[in-house]
């Protein structure tokens, strides 16, 4: 194989790098007017608005991320209609009865746990609390995502993988 052949192969390999992105950032101009109007109407003082196109199992979603009244929001649309709203909040901001029930569930699931992230999912329709925890049970520690109803009942438990922070040399 000579140098010319190698160069041609490398060049064609470069051309074949098809982007099969599951989520890409979209400039404001390419976002549907309906979606932008929804954000402007419902979150009038929103700042740092960013839009992403997310593809999950061949279904295309549009997600908007922004800051509103001190909290971070992620609002997802499907076919220009509202699909999901997520609001990041502190655990102490969850109503006390739900907070107590969640705490009690976490105590029963884990011998030790640390709450990492809290989110309200769809607060105006089917509210769920999404809590990310680092939990220890039976001597092993893992990272979990748990979903609770407004009354604090656990409905879903998912383990997620945390990769180490990249560090070379």
């Amino acid at each position: 194989m000579n140098l010319k052949t190698i160069s041609l192969l490398l060049f064609s390999a470069f051309l074949n790098l098809t982007v099969t992105a599951q989520e890409i950032r979209i400039p404001q101009e390419r976002v549907a007017v309906k979606i932008k109007e929804y954000i402007e109407k419902n979150y009038p003082t929103a700042t740092r608005i960013k839009y992403y196109q997310e593809v999950i199992n061949d279904t295309v979603f549009m997600e908007s991320e922004f800051k509103f009244r001190g909290n971070k929001y992620a609002v997802t649309f499907y076919d220009e209609a509202l699909y999901e709203v997520e609001i990041f909040l502190a655990f102490k901001d969850i109503p006390t009865p739900a907070q107590k029930a969640i705490k009690s569930t976490l105590d029963s699931l884990f011998t030790r746990h640390k709450i990492l992230v809290c989110q309200e999912v769809n607060p105006r329709t089917d509210l769920l609390y999404e809590i990310r925890v680092e939990g220890t049970s039976e001597r092993s520690t893992a990272f979990w995502e748990l979903y609770f109803t407004p009354s604090g009942k656990l409905v879903k438990k998912t383990e997620f993988i945390v990769r180490p922070i990249p560090s070379h040399f």
């Binding site: 098809t18 991320e65 092993s140 520690t141 893992a142 879903k156 998912t158 560090s167 070379h168």
Partner: protein, 253 residues
């Protein structure tokens, strides 16, 4: 004002007269393998070699193209939290590995690395303390010297907020090296600056190509050595989620 200009000019002239700074150009191929022992403890094997690619003649002295360094770094990483990792390693380094002028080094280090979100990317702050045992070829001993390194880095996906397969990313860092104890040319002994672009090939593999500038003091007169390198990194991470959505399994309650 005239005096200031004259002084600056004299300083520049004297600098040129005494400067024995050397510049070399080369490549640095590197390989990194990461895997999980359990959810909190991971291992990494990092191997690299530094090659001076061009022969140079500077002030009548010949510097041949050669392999400057072989670096083998196995380490254990403890995920204290997603934003703080702790690590420790025994590292073997061999200077001039393939000629008679070689120098072996055995090194232990401990590090903490913090990660914070910045814009769409990740800002990292890495602190590392090294205990170095560098071979003295004259007496065959390995005296202890210590060094502290601080690295500030930034990496960000270029096609969205998450780095997905078949997407590009950007990575840059600057690392400061301070020699604390033992034999040293100066306290602030080295500085590495890097900027490169990477591509995530699949769920486990990334390739990265970038420019790395290694500056180090090469004698007690504090003359500098500039090493301009093209770094090519292949990084494999075997710790991958079983499901495509990033989750290992789902259990309904």
């Amino acid at each position: 004002m005239k005096n200031i200009i004259t002084s600056i000019f004299l300083i520049c002239i004297s600098g040129i007269g005494h400067a024995q700074d050397l510049s070399f150009y080369g490549i640095l191929p590197a390989f990194s393998l990461t895997g999980g022992i359990n959810q909190k403890v991971n291992y990494n094997l990092f191997i690299s070699t530094t090659i001076n690619a061009f022969e140079r003649e500077i002030n009548g002295e010949n510097y041949p193209a050669s392999n400057l360094q072989l670096y083998v770094q196995p380490s254990i990483i403890f995920i204290y939290s997603p934003k703080l990792n702790l690590a420790g390693s025994y590292t073997y380094q061999r200077g001039n590995p393939f000629n008679g002028n070689y120098v072996n080094e055995h090194r232990l280090w401990q590090q903490a690395i913090f990660s914070n979100a910045l814009f769409q990317g990740q800002l990292t702050n890495r602190f590392r303390l090294e205990e170095r045992f560098i071979e003295n070829r004259l007496n065959g001993k390995y005296p202890l010297s210590t060094r502290f390194r601080y690295q500030i880095g930034f990496n960000t996906p270029l096609q969205g907020k998450k780095l997905n397969e078949k997407e590009f990313y950007f990575h840059a860092y600057n690392e400061f090296y301070w020699s604390l104890t033992g034999s040293k040319n100066s306290t602030y002994s080295s500085n590495w600056s890097y900027a490169g672009f990477g591509y995530k090939i699949g769920a486990s593999n990334k390739i990265e190509l970038g420019y790395l500038l290694q500056i180090s003091t090469r004698n007690i007169e504090k003359d500098l050595q500039y090493l301009h390198l093209v770094q090519i990194l292949w990084a494999t991470n075997l710790k991958k989620p079983a499901a495509k959505d990033g989750y290992k399994h789902i259990s309904q309650k």
